[in-house]
Point group: C2
DNA sequence: GTGCGGCAGCGAACCGGTTCGCAGATTACG
DNA sequence: CGTAATCTGCGAACCGGTTCGCTGCCGCAC
């Protein structure tokens, strides 16, 4: 193991001088800079992260708390993780990935032991028991997902209410009068997945305003169950001419379901989903959709977190709750309802 | 910040005694143990990870090097990550997730700076530039994926050659005489994804032995391209009565393709895939498949890694290359070829 | 009663960085 | 030419743990 002492000895300077050259925090003569750099090069020196963390009280590590639930569609989570991870690295931070089921305890562990300079919480629930721990921690945190009480926290989320309105408005304007909303499983809502009802409530409200009938179901998060759910709902409501799909698994199953019913989109059925473009490409989903932008959300969360970590001012700035405005990616799956529909 | 000094003071003992009580490495009177524990409780003390790492030269962190490529099916990777992460936590380790494109540099960074006690490399290529760095590192490493030269490394992988033989044998025994193998994209092979040709070569060899015609194609990793690839291959070889699918995207697209061709499985077409059960459930794939067991592989890799980290003996034990024997999960998608097939 | 072994607790040193105050050398300026 | 200001490098202290060797005390055995 080569230490800064070795570097200093080889360069013929003191440890403190070597440290100053490497950090650049104090001015040094160019000759000494050169000697130190050469020594670093020759010895292949890399500072010891633990020692540095101890001395500076900074680890250059961000904790990432992901939660994986049985009743959620796992592949969607991966995109958030990658968004956070890539942005962090650009800013000079590594990621400590925590996937423990008991998120609150894990969060306490990594903050109390000062393994991390800050944390990003994914998949934040309406009443999330991690928030209490986070508020008590010394380190700042950023959330992806809006909880019931966002005070003293930085929050980033898609504007699900606006998304619900937008989806409904789009179809209503095309002339649809009876629509079906497919949400995530009811378990997700019970667990505190507030985004589900935020979108649903806003869509229902907008439907009322525009005098549109809106049926709503919770779809399963797995196939083939979700396929059955879709069939059942379409059987029950034959007048439906358009779908709002806030459920990744349902979106993935939909091409098959439509084919099985002999329907094609958009001629017989207009469809708008809510998922990421990456997701659409992976599964080649041909439906227009509200972009859920996991990479952008992850990026925003990390950027804000790093600001708070690095600037003294950032520490005390007022906290922000920032929504991404929903954007409709048009893939041509919506049209006027078929003539002859009620 | 509360330190072990605070605990010691409150308990009325020296710092070293407090440390000994907490580590249990030296015997202490039960009265003092009680006093120290009470002080810890009262102050909510948690040891500082950086300081401990500095003193013990152990971080209780494992580096996880994942690589995400455009031409690979990302959701499959997530399962390996979770397998590693969950096992690590059970054994008392946290995970530093590194997703940098330049894996070799990242590996050098985290090992040289001693952020990690060991590393797990995912998605190891035939000639992987990370291996050189790993061999030079002080910390042990475990690979998921077999490289060309596995010397001085612990390697865990599915036995892809055996998988290829097994798939072919199974269909040959049922009476099939003309089969199609759908592999990963050619880019994956060029990049060093050796498992692709290991399976393909073994299947071809077995086909020769059993006097079966085996056609082989590289399928795209995305839809709808891979659907087109499948249609084209089936058009070109109308005598094919069975499919070997070593390509997750192709497996996911296959139900649609079969339906489009008016084929049903297993009556008209027998199918065997190679993917995990979790993957099959997520996409409700009805095909029998060779279980790729990402969770088990991740678990084995971490277990072995931790043995090397923790036991002095483990450090010097001979290195292992361990293959998981392929197991066929029967989902009823294979049968004798239709009568009338050549 | 004396000698010896073992145990419990303490103090000091150490891990490898950073930082702060100080001193010696150099420059600037009056 | 003398003094003040500036610059550069050094030494020591510190971050918060762990560990090693020493000492004092106790109990046991002869």
């Amino acid at each position: 193991m080569t230490t800064i002492g070795d570097v200093a000895r080889l360069a013929g300077v003191s440890r403190s001088t070597a440290s100053n050259v490497l950090s650049g925090k104090k001015s040094t003569s160019s000759e000494i800079q050169e000697r130190v750099r050469r020594a670093v090069e020759e010895l292949g020196y890399t500072p010891n992260a633990g020692a540095r963390a101890l001395a500076t009280a900074q680890t250059q590590v961000i904790g990432l708390l992901a939660q994986f639930f049985e009743d959620e569609f796992a592949p969607a989570m991966l995109q958030y993780i990658l968004g956070v991870s890539n942005t962090a690295r650009e800013l000079g931070y590594d990621i400590l990935l925590v996937s423990e089921p008991d998120g609150a305890r894990a969060l306490k562990r990594i903050t109390d032991s000062r393994m991390v300079d800050g944390v990003v919480l994914l998949n934040v629930a309406d009443r999330d028991d991690r928030l209490e721990v986070l508020r008590a921690a010394e380190q700042p945190g950023a959330l992806v997902g809006l909880p019931a009480d966002p005070r003293h926290l930085d929050v980033f989320d898609l504007d699900f209410a606006e998304a619900g309105r937008l989806m409904l408005e789009h179809l209503a304007r095309l002339g649809h009068r009876e629509l079906l909303l497919v949400s995530q499983p009811e378990h997700v809502v019970e667990r505190g997945g507030a985004y589900v009802w935020r979108l649903a409530d806003a869509a229902a409200e907008e439907a009322e305003l525009r005098d549109v009938r809106l049926h709503a179901i919770f779809g399963s998060s797995h196939q083939p169950d979700v396929g059955r759910d879709l069939h059942a709902a379409l059987d029950a409501h034959p007048g439906v001419t358009g779908l709002l799909v806030n459920n990744e698994a349902a979106a993935a199953a939909l091409p098959t379901v439509l084919r099985e019913r002999g329907l094609s989109s958009p001629q017989d059925m207009s469809v708008i989903g809510r998922y990421s473009d990456e997701f659409a490409r992976t599964f080649s989903l041909p439906f227009s959709s509200i972009e859920s932008a996991p990479d952008r959300l992850g990026q925003m969360a990390v950027r804000q977190l790093v600001r708070r970590i690095e600037s003294a001012a950032g520490r005390t700035e007022p906290h922000v709750v920032r929504f991404i405005s929903p954007e409709l990616v048009d893939r041509g799956s919506t049209a006027a309802p078929p003539t002859g529909a009620r």
